[in-house]
Amino acid sequence: MKRLSRFRRHKAAAPLLLTFALLGIGGTFSVASATTANETSAVERSTLIEEGRQIFLKGCSSCHGLNAEGVSIAPSLIGVGAASVDFQVGTGRMPMADMSTQAMRKAPVYDEEEVAALAAYVASLAPGPEIPGMELLNFERDGSTAEGGELFRNNCAMCHNFAGQGGALTQGKYAPTVMGVLPKHIYEAMVTGPQAMPVFNDKTITPEEKLSIIKWIKSAEAEPNLGGASLGRVGPVTEGLLAWTLGLGLLIGVAVWLATKAK
């Protein structure tokens, strides 16, 4: 003790003590709360499921049926899993605004807790893909951008375009842009294959590869437009439009000016 007390006026003493104290409190709290969570999880879960059921009955059952069994206009949700609910409701696709060909991304109707409750309810009906946890989604650590780009071009670009800007499918369906989507939702989309999208299970694309794809998407999203205005990153159509309008337009304007000045 005496030896330690010699350092009590050391300039590193206060910060060190503070760190120990914080770690101690945090550690105790997490252990304590984890035990309580374990103890009460069954109870909490059942209340969560009940909450979800109530939301479901109000907001979803008119199309999906009272027991999520599905009717002619909407599919059964038994076995779609929490991931599917989290994606569809979390991105605002569900509930649909109208009966159009495809549900589009919009501002979510339900908040995070409500989405969690709905997901818990649907997951309780039958097992299905789960919502990926934050630990799993560490794409910055576990993903590789270059590999993700390769995977994206192999599996995704044919519908979502080379830069993830989206593209057209048949009969008014479309592959939406993947820009500005939460990593969690990208992951869930790959796992559950919403709407026209196929399912990419863990055998087709492993979880690490999925993270690489997410990492590449996030890198493309953050990448500044290196060559100037991006023109939508959709290829030669907008380029041709600009060449005719601004390019030739300016030059014809100059030509008219040159010819009138001569008079």
Binding site: T101, T145, A146, G149, E150, R153, N154, A157, M158, C159, H160, N161, F162, A163, Q165, G166, G167, A168, L169, T170, Q171, G172, Y174, A175, W216, S219, A220, E223, N225, L226, G227, G228, A229, S230, L231, R233, V234, G235, P236, V237, T238, E239, G240, L241, L242, A243, W244, L246, G247, L248, L250, L251, I252, V254, A255, V256, L258, A259, T260, A262
Partner: protein
């Protein structure tokens, strides 16, 4: 010794040895008429010069090889990816060479503007009838330049070997293969084996940087020499005849203007290259035959061709163990073949219809040749409909439409809209002729109302200027060809069917609102 005297000595030295003075004296005074639409061809010429300069810059670093390399450049998202040396060097130009990306973008923008200017120039020549005798040959050279431009542009688009390039080459391969009987052999010949092989990029590179630019230079030279020799056409106006050219001398007026205009064209392409991204190859990634991107389109000048292929119904026939892919053959080869042959032969077709074999140096106002103008509008409509279908996927996503609806819309539209455009344009031309006649006879509506003593209101008309009246009445209206089925002795003439067709076309072609004659004016002045 003064500067002038020194210059004179030098000039004299050159003249004594080359006799250039007499040539220059004559040439520098050569007169060119002035009109903005005459500068469209110049835009094409200057873009070509820009293409040569920026293209040369790019060749310093571009490696036209399909050898596989591992990318180790500064663009992180592709690090360690296997790619062709061609693609890697295109990335190197974009990211490591100083000014490389700007030059690449200038080169590509200049190519798009080059083609746009060629098309705009061609439309001007067509709609004003500048292709008539003696310029039919130059028209054909022009069509040749347009065709070469399409091929040259496509090769340039294919060279970087990115995902989009490769997709384009794949479609070109499909079109080659669709040629009956020899298709697959030609494809093996072009690619030196199975697609994509290792030979194609080096081959098209030498075609892109040597063969076609050489052909361009030769054809452009002949094109310009013919303009020089045949003299430039001019719009009708007082004092302008078939035998003179009214305008300004080459020196100093046009030298200054043309020189300045070159730098403006360079400025506009450099501006676009600096502010607008074009073909961001690093986003596309390297080409592998297994990959494709949604919304893969060619550059605009081939968009119509892509649109035609996209709208073709999937029809194939099999016989004697061979497949004929009509769905590629018809839109990819037969229709473009008919269109370009028809375009090249048009001057001869028109002169056959009108029977007009005289020289023309005065241009037509498009309304005074309703049939030709309508035909042009019809062709343009066809091109636009097919071009729209070339971008059908982007139109579908950006305007909330179904790609199938657009495809069916253009499938029907490509048959219905061009004839409709023909009819509407012809009626519009005739209406404009009527308006011209009205204008000459009754003058310009001033918008001033006059109240007569009787209380009646009339609008005051003002006679138009004599210059304007001249422009509105100076064109000639050719009567239709008289091609009787039997000759003077009552004997049926040879080629009855052909003559019947010719007479019909000629009659349709000669349809016009009679222009104001001197008698008409006298009559109107008398009351």
């Amino acid at each position: 010794m003064t500067v002038e005297a020194k210059l004179g000595q030098v000039a004299n030295y050159v003249d004594e040895r080359t006799g250039a003075a007499a040539f220059l004296k004559k040439s520098l005074k050569k007169v060119f008429p002035d009109h903005w639409s005459f500068l469209l061809g110049e835009v094409a010429l200057y873009s070509f010069v820009i293409l040569l300069l920026s293209g040369t810059f790019l060749t310093f670093w571009f490696d036209p090889s399909m050898r596989e390399v591992v990318y180790e450049g500064s663009y992180q998202p592709l690090e360690g990816v296997k790619m062709s040396a061609a693609y890697a060097s295109a990335l190197h130009i974009s990211f490591e060479v100083r000014g490389g990306l700007l030059m690449r973008q200038i080169h590509h923008w200049a190519a798009l503007i080059f083609m746009a200017a060629i098309v705009a120039h061609l439309l001007r020549v067509f709609f004003t009838g500048a292709f008539r005798k003696p310029r039919e040959g130059n028209w054909i050279i022009g069509v040749g330049l347009l065709t070469l431009g399409i091929v040259e542009g496509f090769l340039g688009y294919s060279l970087p070997d990115d995902l989009l390039s490769g997709t384009g080459i794949r479609i070109a391969e499909a079109i080659i293969q669709a040629i009956p009987v020899v298709g697959s052999y030609l494809s093996y010949f072009a690619f030196g084996g199975v697609f994509p092989g290792e030979l194609f990029i080096p081959r098209i590179y030498i075609v892109h940087v040597l063969l076609l630019p050489g052909a361009f230079l030769a054809l452009i030279t002949v094109h310009l020499m013919l303009v020089w020799y045949q003299k430039h056409t001019q719009y009708p106006g007082p004092g302008r005849t078939e035998k003179n050219v009214v305008g300004y001398p080459l020196m100093p007026m046009y030298m200054a203007k043309a020189g300045g205009f070159f730098f403006i064209v360079f400025g506009v392409t450099a501006f676009l290259g600096a502010v607008a991204s074009i073909n961001p190859i690093w986003l596309y990634g390297p080409y592998t035959p297994a990959q494709i991107s949604a919304g893969s389109q060619p550059d605009w000048y081939m968009g119509w061709l892509d649109g035609l292929v996209r709208m073709a119904p999937p029809i194939e026939t099999y016989f004697f163990g061979y497949t004929i892919s009509w769905n590629i053959l018809i839109p990819g080869l037969i229709i473009p073949g008919i269109l370009f042959t028809g375009m090249a032969l048009y001057p001869f077709i028109e002169s056959w219809i009108t029977g007009d074999k005289r020289e023309h140096h005065l241009l037509d106002r498009p309304r005074n040749a309703p049939n030709r103008t309508a035909l042009g509008a019809m062709s343009l409509t066809f091109m636009l409909v097919t071009l729209i279908n070339g971008g059908n996927d982007l139109i579908a996503t950006h305007f909330d439409l179904s790609i199938n609806q657009i495809m069916w819309g253009t499938r029907i539209g490509v048959f219905v809209l061009p004839p409709l455009a023909f009819i509407i344009t012809k009626r519009l031309c005739l209406s404009l002729q009527r308006a011209d006649r009205e204008l000459v006879l009754h003058g310009r509506e001033t918008g001033r109302l006059l109240r007569m003593p009787s209380g009646e209101f009339v609008e005051v008309h003002e006679p138009i200027s004599p210059e304007k009246a001249f422009i509105l009445t100076s064109h000639e209206q050719m009567p239709a060809l008289d091609l009787p089925a039997v000759d003077a002795r009552g004997v049926k003439r040879a080629g009855a069917l052909k003559n019947k067709l010719r007479a019909r076309l000629s009659k349709a072609n000669a349809e016009a609102i009679p222009k104001v004659s001197a008698d008409d004016l006298k009559e109107i002045e008398s009351h």
